[in-house]
């Protein structure tokens, strides 16, 4: 580590790193509602946003928070909200609205034990499938997971970039442990961060078709109030944005919003591998569990077991291609999760190689320790 890098190191909590990442990515609007263990994000942004000319508002509930976030986004401002399970449940209605109107926005869900009020101060990964399928109807969505404080920064930047590029809500799944862990991290300089902004119309208003398809499948986006008057609706709409029930138009709409994500799989599906080149068995992990898994893999290697780690940053769209490669390469995979098996489900779904899948689920509100994973690695 160079001196310069060392000087840049700061002691941050996961929630604080998310704030730093959001601000670096250009987030200038936040609406939220207090909830443990996500409140620090609200608190810090209420301090920082006005300094940057941005806006913070505490709404009357999470439904309203999500509505305000979408409103601000449609008006051209990069927007975010942060919550935990119970609030995330309330947000689902308007997350669907963001999907159908293709409003870029970032939703941080600091997971705690559920359902309902559950275990407010304990970590969990119980909202994984909900993040994918929480709102009703067929919809594409991007779900990312953070495992460390430095992840919190970089993944948040990434989340904003993906949401702007694909005009889709992006959900960041954190958990109570990542949120409240303090670590020394080196944050990159502003000029080292790649920031993507939504593409605005390149034609005069009278030529603008708000939902016209293009080769990316992502229509150019005019902000409310920029002279491109158009209609935005939560109904299935045609290219002009008007409600439609014409079957060809309805099908075309659904296909486009799904395909715009699948066209970007290569960029959206982010994974990290560790010692996977010669691995014979591996761990698929995400969130705080990935850190335990990393330690377990190292320990296993020390014991001569050819273990590897595939860490999922992107949970959905599920990185099938990447997982598939390693399922074919290895004889067994261990999927440790702080839930009853929400990602192991996905792994089973894509497993065509008859790779043995070993689930390890812990739901007592405590972290999965490296030893627990190591035990599997040593015995499988």
């Amino acid at each position: 580590m160079t001196m310069a890098e060392q000087q840049k190191r700061v002691l941050l909590q996961g929630n604080e790193a998310i704030v730093a990442g959001a601000l670096a990515a250009g987030c200038r609007f936040f609406a939220g509602y207090p909830i443990t263990p996500a409140s620090e994000i609200s608190e810090l942004l209420s301090l920082k946003l006005p300094e940057l000319g941005g806006t913070f508002i505490q709404m009357e509930d999470e439904i309203a928070s999500m509505g305000a976030v979408i409103g601000a986004s449609l008006a051209g401002t990069k927007s975010m909200t942060a919550t935990s399970g119970p609030g995330f449940s309330l947000m689902q209605e308007n997350i669907g609205y963001a999907c159908i109107t293709e409003a870029p926005c970032v939703i941080v869900n600091v997971m705690r034990g559920g359902p309902s009020t559950g275990l407010p101060t304990s970590p969990s990964q119980g909202d994984v499938q909900m993040a994918r399928w929480g709102t009703h109807g067929d919809h594409p969505i991007i779900v990312l997971a953070v495992s460390s404080v430095s992840d919190c920064f970089s993944v948040t930047v990434k989340a904003f970039n993906l949401s702007e590029k694909y005009r889709s809500p992006v959900i960041i799944l954190s958990d109570e442990v990542v949120a409240h862990t303090r670590e020394a991290v080196a944050l990159p300089d502003a000029d080292q961060i790649r920031i993507i902004d939504r593409i605005t119309p390149g034609v005069p208003p009278e030529w603008y078709t708000p939902y016209a398809d293009n080769n990316r499948g992502v229509p150019d986006m005019a902000a409310i109030g920029d002279g491109y008057r158009h209609h935005i609706t939560g109904l299935i709409h045609d290219d002009r944005g008007y409600p439609t029930q014409v079957s060809q138009e309805v099908e075309k709409f659904y296909k486009r919003i799904h395909e715009k994500i699948s066209k970007g799989f290569q960029e959206i599906q982010i994974t990290k591998t560790y010692l996977m080149e010669d691995a014979e068995l591996f761990v698929i992990a995400y969130g705080s569990v990935a850190r335990s898994a990393l330690k377990a893999v190292r320990d296993a290697r020390d014991q001569g077991v050819k273990a590897g780690l595939l860490q999922l940053i992107t949970l959905f769209p599920f990185p099938r291609k990447c997982v598939d490669i390693y399922l074919r390469q290895c004889r067994a995979v261990i999927v440790p999760e702080m839930n009853m098996g929400q990602i192991s489900r996905e792994v089973s779904r894509v497993n065509q190689a008859n790779c043995r899948i070993v689930k390890h689920n812990r739901i007592d509100g405590h972290l999965i320790s490296p030893d627990e994973i190591l035990k599997h690695l040593a015995t499988v």
């Binding site: 730093a20 601000l23 300094e51 806006t55 508002i57 990159p188 409310i224 409600p243």
Partner: protein, 294 residues
């Protein structure tokens, strides 16, 4: 020279949108829409600076037909979207059209909090005492004893008085009008839009197809005539005895108070916060990350 009605049709209605609109024959929504457009036209606002939002229901269809920046949101949440839009672009004139169920049942919390917050929005609430689009179920403004598809034995609950609710919740401007008094309504809407701060116009409107039919209130003509007979101007009502006011309702301006507006107050917060941040971190700034290095 074009007549005003022609200007309204030519300038404000969407020409690529199919007319006639979806509402039933004689529905008050069309009258409210006319009053709204004439009101806005009279204020000389450019179409680009007006945002018209709605929730779900019959009223929710209104923005589709009008050539502003229009947004048809989720049920009851229109005010939350408008809050985001207004905060992101304070220079816009943001107007919400809601129904009684939309605004005070599913969106009741958002409604009272928008009023409490006194954010600079205009809410037009078309109160037809029922959920028309879903088939005439009872709403928060269905009168006690009335019949609806979900109160076939007569309604056992009591109705909200929307305008009074808005006054209590702290709105800057509150008025009530009816679809009979369309010119008056236009004035109320204009005043509401001109008012900085949260302003509410409750419009008593007719759903003769659902509410009227089930309660033997007659058709559109009879219902609208009853507003003519039962509406009393606020000033006049003050001089009337409770007995005289039996079965009547007031129209006109119910509240018009000056108080700090959250949208404007927040602009001050930004100025203040910027001053502080410059003081604290002389040359560092720009993107917020560097603030953590201190």
């Amino acid at each position: 020279m074009l007549e005003r009605a022609e200007i309204i049709r030519k300038e404000y209605l969407r020409h690529d949108k199919k007319f006639p609109h979806v509402w039933c024959p004689g529905c008050g929504n069309g009258i409210v829409m006319g009053a709204l457009l004439r009101g806005i036209h009279g204020l000389n606002l450019s179409k680009d600076e007006v945002v018209l939002a709605s929730g779900i229901g019959c009223s929710g269809r209104m923005p589709t037909y009008i050539d502003f920046n229009t947004i048809h949101t989720t049920h009851g949440r229109a005010l939350t979207f408008c809050t985001g839009i207004k905060l992101a672009k304070p220079e816009l004139t943001v107007i919400t059209v809601m129904g009684d169920g939309d605004a005070t049942a599913i969106g009741g919390n958002h409604f009272i909090h928008a009023a409490r917050r006194n954010i600079d929005l205009t809410a037009i609430i078309i109160n037809n005492s029922t959920y028309g689009m879903t088939g005439g179920q009872y709403s928060p403004t269905t009168p006690f004893g009335s019949k609806s598809t979900t109160s076939v034995y007569g309604h056992v609950e009591h109705a909200f008085s929307i305008a009074e609710l808005a006054v209590t919740a702290g709105a800057s401007f509150v008025a009530r009008g009816t679809v009979y008094h369309a010119v008056h309504l236009e004035e109320m809407i204009q005043q509401a839009i001109r008012t900085r701060g949260f302003s509410v116009v409750e419009v008593i409107s007719n759903c003769h197809v659902q509410h009227g039919r089930r309660n033997k209130l007659g058709g559109a003509v009879e219902m609208i005539t009853s507003y003519k007979e039962n509406a009393v101007l606020v000033g006049k009502a003050a001089k009337m005895s409770p007995e005289e006011l039996e079965g009547k309702f007031t129209i006109g301006v119910l509240a018009n108070v000056k108080k700090p507006i959250s949208t404007e107050q927040y602009q001050r917060v930004i100025v203040e916060a910027r001053k502080n941040s410059h003081k604290n971190s002389s040359e560092k700034e720009k993107n917020g990350i560097k603030r953590y290095e201190e």
